[in-house]
């Protein structure tokens, strides 16, 4: 195209959308994260009350006990919008695929001590069911959360959890040398083994929690805050004595994922706690309630894997979690001291 | 069932290979070219064979790669390791 237009004639008349400019200023170009995320959710003039919840509006801040003056205080430090999220996860998946292919092609699983291989399957594979429930809990947050910022990040976390459940399933197929016997055995354990019943009870109890922010705390902060450090640190270290490194190669991404996800959950928790003393109190109560449950749920699994070191491992992880959450201002000093 | 099924593909490198494979493997299929896209119709069933597409592309083509090329479908879908099909029951 042959166009001869003076540069000033094609000077933009505005830099971004008005709702973005009201937050960040009119003379500044906005980032894609900002345009994709801020103020997209409808907030007013809903036409009909939900037939499934007629006491509230379709989108309603009253679906949690947490109160915020501005629900767009939950900025995701990763600045995920759909494109950056998927590109990031495609890369994560690729590194997992590379690790599995490396292990699988060389038959390295066979070099791991047989007992540890069985133990690895026993603690890792039932976790795919925990991830599946975490997935449902994230969907509830995406459904009932308030504001685009928290709901889009929760939706991404949700598909992460489905992806992780599927990756664990793939590890199960590798362990079963292509057959599904390990997956089926792990499901039986999940349903019946005494070691798993406190966990399954906790997970099913979480599926009836209706306050989405409570679920955020219970699942994404507390339960994940026990399960991931246990699996990726304590259990992984225990495997080193049994030539477990090929297995560590396959699960290495879990630690990376948890670190990444925690950047987001930390930011959300910090913002909610910083808003008001009332929020802080609510968050502290939720933390206490679910911390106790989560501790009890992981203990038998930790004992199964670590034997008499199980109790100290769980206590140590619990203390780290307390420190982390206290550092975000979400639990009071009394609890930190406890 | 003789109702027509159809698939509409992007006119991309892969889309073109898929269209060629369909035309070769599904006697009676009709192909209609439109700006930027190609629509193929056939009564009852259309099947994309992974082997046929792979042969045309010179690489292994996974039927799930259909997601990169498809624009629209009419009919039910059946998918497995070696084929992708659109059909009426």
């Amino acid at each position: 195209m042959n166009i001869d237009i003076q540069a000033e004639a094609i000077t933009p008349r505005r830099q971004t959308f008005s709702h973005i400019a009201r937050r960040f200023g009119t003379d500044k170009a906005a980032s894609r994260y900002e345009e994709a995320t801020y103020d997209v959710q409808p907030v007013a003039n809903f036409h009909y009350r939900p037939t499934w919840d007629p006491e509230r509006e379709l989108f309603d801040p009253r679906r949690t006990a947490i109160e915020m003056a501005d629900w767009y205080a939950f900025r995701d430090p990763r600045q995920f919008y759909y494109a950056t999220y998927n590109i990031s996860r495609a890369a994560m998946q690729q590194s997992f695929d590379d690790a599995v292919n490396f292990v699988d092609k060389r038959g390295l699983v066979g070099s791991v001590d047989a007992d540890w291989r069985a133990m690895f399957a026993a603690y890792l594979l039932p976790l795919r069911h925990v991830e599946w429930a975490a997935n449902m809990n994230c969907q509830l947050i995406a459904d009932w959360g308030y504001g685009t910022q928290i709901t889009s990040a929760a939706a991404f976390c949700g598909t992460d959890r489905l992806g992780i459940a599927q990756i664990i399933s793939r590890i199960g197929l590798v362990l079963g040398e292509g057959s599904d016997e390990q997956l089926l055995a792990a499901k039986t354990q999940w349903l019946d083994a005494p070691e798993w019943q406190p966990m399954r009870r906790l997970v099913e109890d979480l599926l009836v929690v209706r306050d989405w922010f409570e679920l955020f705390v219970a699942q994404l902060v507390v339960l994940d805050g026990y399960v991931y450090p246990l699996v990726t640190q304590a259990f992984d270290r225990a495997g080193a004595a049994h030539n477990g490194s090929p297995l560590s190669m396959m699960t290495g991404f879990l630690g990376d994922w948890f670190a990444d996800n925690s950047r987001w959950t930390d930011a959300v928790l910090k913002a909610a706690a910083g808003e008001s003393e009332a929020n802080r109190q609510t968050l502290g109560d939720w933390f206490d309630r679910w911390d106790e449950r989560a501790r009890a749920a992981v203990q038998p699994v930790a004992d199964m894997v670590l034997g008499d070191r199980g109790a100290s491992a769980v206590a140590e992880i619990g203390a780290q979690l307390q420190d982390r959450v206290a550092g975000l201002g979400a639990i009071a000093e009394r609890e930190k001291a406890a | 069932m003789t109702q027509p099924v159809s698939i509409t593909l992007q006119n991309s490198q892969d889309g073109f290979a898929i269209a060629e494979a369909i035309m070769a493997d599904n006697p009676g299929a009709e192909r209609r070219s439109m700006p930027a896209m190609t629509k193929i119709d056939r009564p009852g069933r259309l099947e994309i064979k992974a082997a046929s597409v792979s042969e045309r592309l010179g690489r292994d083509w996974d039927p799930q790669e259909i997601h990169l090329s498809v624009i629209s479908l009419s009919g039910s879908v059946d998918e497995d390791d070696d084929y992708f099909a659109v059909y009426w029951r």
Binding site: N86, Q93, W132, M136 | Q3, L73
Partner: protein, 510 residues
């Protein structure tokens, strides 16, 4: 090695419903409290056949690849001033309607598919629903990012979410989606996945995207095509989900038929806005609304409903009315927008001779007889400096919320007025289709937030038009009023002057 491996279907089973289990510490009814109240009976959730067997690894891989391609186009559009390549600034009004009316619905779809992903008791359907949930978020965000560039140069785009919650014509799409999301999970699935995505979505996307392609808007074409590849998954979900419900229990058939009837009509009325866009806002026309309706509803829908007949499902009620009206609704909708351009965030304009000739050709039975003289009169008035605007506020249909401009099917000169009584009040609807919907669930539709009534209740910024427009965040004199004399027209003329030295090239391209 290969022999003992599970095939795609077996593997997919383990990767989805295999993750699920029968709970024993909590009851299923407490975990899925919304599954029963609509009266839908499902005996065997495992009978659900997943049409696409997409696991997250493949999803991330394919979607990342699509996004890389799309954002390359968006970047290039910004770097190369892609807005200069469109046929005419009037075209942008289609884009404005899109971001004001459609993009917020993509977001709502994202949220409500998350609702299904949590609340449907079947694991297989929950997986499909959550992929659709983030797909819809994708569509919302890619539309915002694409149209963000146009927002820098054109009016009416700048505050689309604020406007979506308030403007009179945007309550049409908003109430449509609010209606679906406030319903139970199975009605939503039938409404959005089946009636809208499967039966009607081609009428939304194909005209918009081909319209964009014909009018030089490559960015919109690109996000449209990229989104369509997700849509084929969504459409398939809609078809298979409805089939599944019909196969599970005979008692589901009349319930689903009722929803198909309702949501066909709801969707069809919503598409009036798209129909008007096709016939009036595209400088280069793709096809008329009547032609699009014949291709994408009458033909494609024919095959679909022939297939569903085995379950006892028939074509939607009032599909014949939609067919009979197809020569009228776009002209009636343009009349609405021309009347109220002073209160809208899109422009309208007088229809020129070339456009009149096209309309006569495409609507030989209706246009010259019923509508052409109206446009000629308006053009005369505008030429005398008395551009016609309606000083009153329109009567809105209680259900579809479109101003009551639709005429009787057998008499195109008489407005179709329908009225119902409920709770001691009158409720007006535009058609038998909308009246049926009201009468079936008056407790619901009597709640509607009708923009005109809200203005008269004093809930919209004030009693005068300028106060209401301020409350809408309409930049008066830029976002609203006729295209003739608008800042956009002035800007476009200035750009085109710059292009004139290259006239021989442009002429050759015509």
């Amino acid at each position: 090695m290969a022999a003992r491996k599970l095939n795609l279907k077996q593997k997919y089973g383990h990767f989805t419903r295999g993750l699920d289990w029968e709970p024993s510490y909590q009851s299923k009814d407490d975990i899925f409290p919304f599954a029963k109240y609509e009266g839908i009976k499902v005996h065997d959730w495992d009978a659900w056949e997943d049409p696409f067997k997409l696991t997250m690894d493949a999803y991330w891989k394919f979607q990342a690849e699509k996004e890389r391609k799309l954002y390359a186009v968006i970047d290039s559009m910004a770097q190369n001033n892609g807005q200069l390549g469109i046929t005419d600034a009037r075209y942008l009004n289609a884009v404005k309607l899109f971001i004001q009316g459609v993009t917020p619905l993509e977001y709502q779809a994202h949220r409500h598919f998350a609702h299904l992903a949590r609340h449907l008791p079947g694991a297989g359907l929950r997986v499909a629903a959550q992929m659709q949930s983030i797909d819809e978020l994708r569509h919302c965000q890619t539309q915002i990012h694409t149209i963000s560039h146009y927002n820098k140069f054109f009016d009416g785009i700048h505050d689309f979410t604020h406007m979506h919650d308030r403007l009179w014509y945007l309550s049409v799409p908003k109430s449509f989606f609010d209606d679906a999301t406030t319903a139970g999970p199975f009605e939503f699935l039938t409404a959005i996945s089946f009636a809208f995505e499967y039966v009607l979505t081609n009428l939304l996307f194909v005209p918009f995207m081909s319209g964009a392609a014909y009018n030089g808007d490559m960015a919109t074409v690109t996000f449209g095509f990229s989104a369509q590849s997700d849509e084929s998954r969504h459409m398939t979900l809609g078809l298979e989900a409805v089939r599944f419900l019909l196969e599970q229990d005979e008692a589901n058939v009349p319930i689903v038929q009722g929803w198909i009837d309702k949501w066909f009509w709801r969707g069809y009325r919503l598409l009036t806005l798209v129909a008007m866009m096709m016939d009036y806002m595209l400088p280069k026309k793709v096809m008329s609304w009547a032609e699009a309706w014949e291709t994408y509803y009458e033909q494609a829908g024919g095959a679909l409903f022939a297939d569903l007949a085995r379950y006892g499902i028939r074509e939607p009620k009032y599909a014949d009315v939609a067919k009979a009206e197809k020569g009228h609704i776009t002209h009636q909708a343009w009349t609405i927008f021309y009347n109220y351009t002073h209160a809208a965030a899109v422009h309208t304009w007088d229809v020129d001779d070339q456009h009149l000739a096209w309309l006569r050709e495409k609507y030989p039975e209706t246009f010259a007889q019923y509508y052409e003289q109206r446009y000629l009169n308006w053009r005369d008035q505008a030429n005398q400096g008395k551009r016609f605007y309606n000083n009153g506020l329109p009567q809105l249909c209680q259900v579809c919320q479109v101003p009551m401009a639709f005429t009787e099917v057998d008499d195109p000169t008489t407005i179709s007025f329908r009225v119902s009584e409920f709770g001691g009040d009158k409720y007006h609807t535009c058609s038998d289709g909308c009246k049926d919907i009201f009468d079936h669930e008056p407790e619901k539709y009597s709640q509607a937030w009708l923009p005109v009534h809200q203005i008269f209740q004093g809930n919209c910024g004030g009693a005068t038009v300028p106060e209401v427009l301020d409350w809408y965040h309409i930049n008066q004199g830029a976002d609203n009023m006729d295209y003739a004399g608008s800042p956009e027209e002035a800007q476009w003329e200035k750009w085109m002057e710059g292009r004139r030295p290259a006239a021989p090239m442009a002429a050759a391209a015509e």
